[in-house]
């Protein structure tokens, strides 16, 4: 149903569009042409072969309307650390100044995209034009064509942020049938250090809405970034997201991608190691139950020599949940001394859960170290017997082993408050799965 969105673009361009500057309108116009040409991806599309998105494509989502009022108390359960930590909150796709907390921190410039577009930040036009994220998938093109708001974060060279900045995207109850297209741009200066948390939260547990996000992250020479992405949409919602990371020499990027919500959740993460000595550590942890479809596509571009990438993704799937993991590593001919390791593991806790997993190594250099490993299976029966032989009931043993499987990745988050909240979230999820399994019996 691409006509629906093409029409929506026409309508938006006709009324709201007039207030946006010309360069922005022309980016939108380019993007909608890309989308018109590509349409939505289909099953014949190699990158979407295992990802049946028909329900999302068939539905017609309208732009999110005026938001249901949200107070800080509604938000608190989804925040980390202290309330005065910096955050920028979007409610139903629109910037909420009341809920945001934007302290002035030396070297940090953070504002919502719509206001930056209006006020004309010097580099924004070229940064957005250059951002390749918008062309990665048809969804990203649609985001660029229809996106109204988002976040622009810049950290000046040599600045150090002591606390993480949290970019919160909330969808309110009663947003059924609506879509938001948040657009994030994070630019970190030379040798600067930042922690960024990106959250997607559905406030009503049952809403069938769609979040379609594009996030660009740039690390200048020697920059250090820890990026945590937490996707906890409603389990009836759709989530599509592209994260595009570009790293210069000697920069260090560490990402943790956590996904627990969404009826269909697809995340494309692309990391480009564009300067020697750059390092990317990518961790992922996802959960699926009921009929959830959780898809992670990652691509690591080793464009320059002496870079290192380390990737560990783990999934826990039960009921009829379907996981997809595709991990591509592309090593260019000049990228000698590349050190790349990819691991992906999935735990299938029911006979009807499934995972499609595919490592794809494309190596064009000869002096490299590239390895990948995938394991799929159930809990280790020997470990289970070991625990029960110590008096631990089988059900508790299963939960403990499942938790332990997750904890190995979770422990890679260095921000303690984030780890604690996710830890509780995982325990809650495992406990509620257990209760449901019990009821079903």
């Amino acid at each position: 149903m691409i006509e629906h969105y093409l029409r929506e673009y026409e309508v938006a361009a006709a009324d709201g569009g007039a207030t946006a500057p010309g360069w922005f309108r022309s980016l939108q116009a380019d993007a909608i042409e890309l989308f018109r040409a590509s349409g939505f991806p289909g099953p014949k599309d190699e990158e979407w072969r295992f990802t049946p998105i028909a329900p999302l494509v068939r539905a017609t989502f309208r732009p999110a309307g005026s938001a249901t009022p949200v107070g800080l108390t509604d938000l608190e359960p989804f925040l980390f650390g202290r309330l005065d930590w910096p955050r920028l909150v979007l409610v139903d796709g629109r910037f909420s100044p009341e809920l945001s907390q934007l302290p002035s921190i030396a070297g940090l410039a953070i504002a919502n995209l719509a206001s930056v577009v209006k006020s004309g930040d010097g580099d924004l036009a070229s940064d957005l034009a250059e951002a390749s994220g918008r062309t990665v998938t048809p969804f990203a093109s649609l985001n660029a064509a229809l996106g109204m708001d988002g976040t622009v974060l810049r950290l000046a060279s040599d600045s150090v942020m002591e606390e993480p900045v949290h970019l919160v995207h909330v969808t309110t109850p009663g947003s059924d049938g609506t879509v938001t297209h948040p657009r994030l741009l994070v630019v970190i200066g030379e040798r600067a250090r930042a922690q960024v948390i990106e959250s997607y939260v559905g406030l009503g547990s049952e809403g069938c809405y769609w979040t379609n996000v594009v996030c660009d992250v740039r690390l200048s020479r020697g920059a250090w970034v820890e990026h945590t992405r937490i996707q906890r949409e409603s389990e009836s919602a759709y989530h599509t997201g592209v994260t595009e990371i570009r790293q210069e020499a000697d920069s260090h990027y560490r990402s943790f991608s956590f996904a627990i919500g969404g009826a269909i959740a697809r995340h494309d993460l692309r990391s480009r190691l564009g300067g020697s000595g750059a390092e990317a550590l990518l961790y992922g942890l996802y959960f699926g139950r009921g009929d959830q479809l959780v898809d992670n596509h990652t691509t690591i571009f080793h464009d320059q020599p002496d870079c290192r990438s380390w990737e560990v993704y783990k999934g826990i799937l039960t009921d009829r949940a379907h996981g997809v993991f595709n991990g591509k590593i592309i090593v260019q001919p000049i990228a000698q001394k590349t050190d790349a390791k990819q691991t992906n593991r999935a735990l299938l806790l029911s006979d009807t859960a499934k995972i499609d997993t595919k490592p794809q190594l494309e190596i064009f250099a000869d002096d490299v170290k590239c390895t990948h490993g995938a394991t799929v299976g159930n809990l280790d029966p020997l470990a289970r017997f070991y625990l029960t032989s110590r008096g631990i009931p089988d059900r508790v043993a299963g939960e403990l082993l499942t938790y332990a499987f997750a904890a190995e990745v979770l422990n890679e988050i260095s921000a303690e408050p984030v780890r604690t909240v996710l830890d509780r979230l995982i325990h809650g999820r495992l406990a509620s799965d257990r209760l449901e399994a019990h009821d079903a019996r």
Binding site: R390, D394, L401
Partner: protein, 254 residues
Amino acid sequence: MAPLLEIIDLRASVGDKPILKGVDLVVNRGEVHAIMGPNGSGKSTLVQAISGHPAYTITGGSIRFDGVDIGEIPPEERAQAGIFLAFQYPVEIPGVTNAYFLRAAYNEMRKARGLEEMDPIDFIDLLEEKLKLVEWGPEIMRRAVNAGFSGGEKKRNEILQMAVLEPKLALLDETDSGLDIDALRIVAKGVNALKRPDNAYVVVTHYQRLLDHIIPDIVHVLADGQLIKTGGKELAFELEARGYEWLTGTPERV
């Protein structure tokens, strides 16, 4: 009083392969039994069947513990009743710390006896005591269960768990193999310290040397799924000197 453990004509298989072919064994409180025998004779199968390992199907006979037939009850309930197996190959559990594991196990045992969970502070005191027994510092508690442990550390960890859980019947499956003299001494010391008139040990071993430290009252020889000989501790010396061939009639496969 019924014997602590009473096994009558026990038969067990893996899949449709019979492994135990009629084992009779009575263990009373206060006794130490040694089970020796060639590789593959079924020693591990026997102790694992007593603990309730799901891979083994009991095809005949019975296992009574403290007068109760335990053949149908799950492993956790056997453990809660007081059976402990020190594994020949202790399992690595990455992601679960030793501290968490031990406390969880200890509290499950308490719950099963209708007691309240012990609070974490009191448990630390109890642990400190038990750690001394195996000559370990508290650092070991922060490591994941057996993950990356050396062979000797794994065996010592089994003894630590036994010390914390204080079973009525401890089954030690080749706890001595792969240990250097020092580790062997620590393991034996732990076992002897925990010995009481109302508990019992079944020690599976290949070597006489463990029995220098843990003196058995009764020694059995298991061959091809049956106990073919029972004697006093002198039987162990004889086996050490002569091997198993004179009993089994076939050279031992190694």
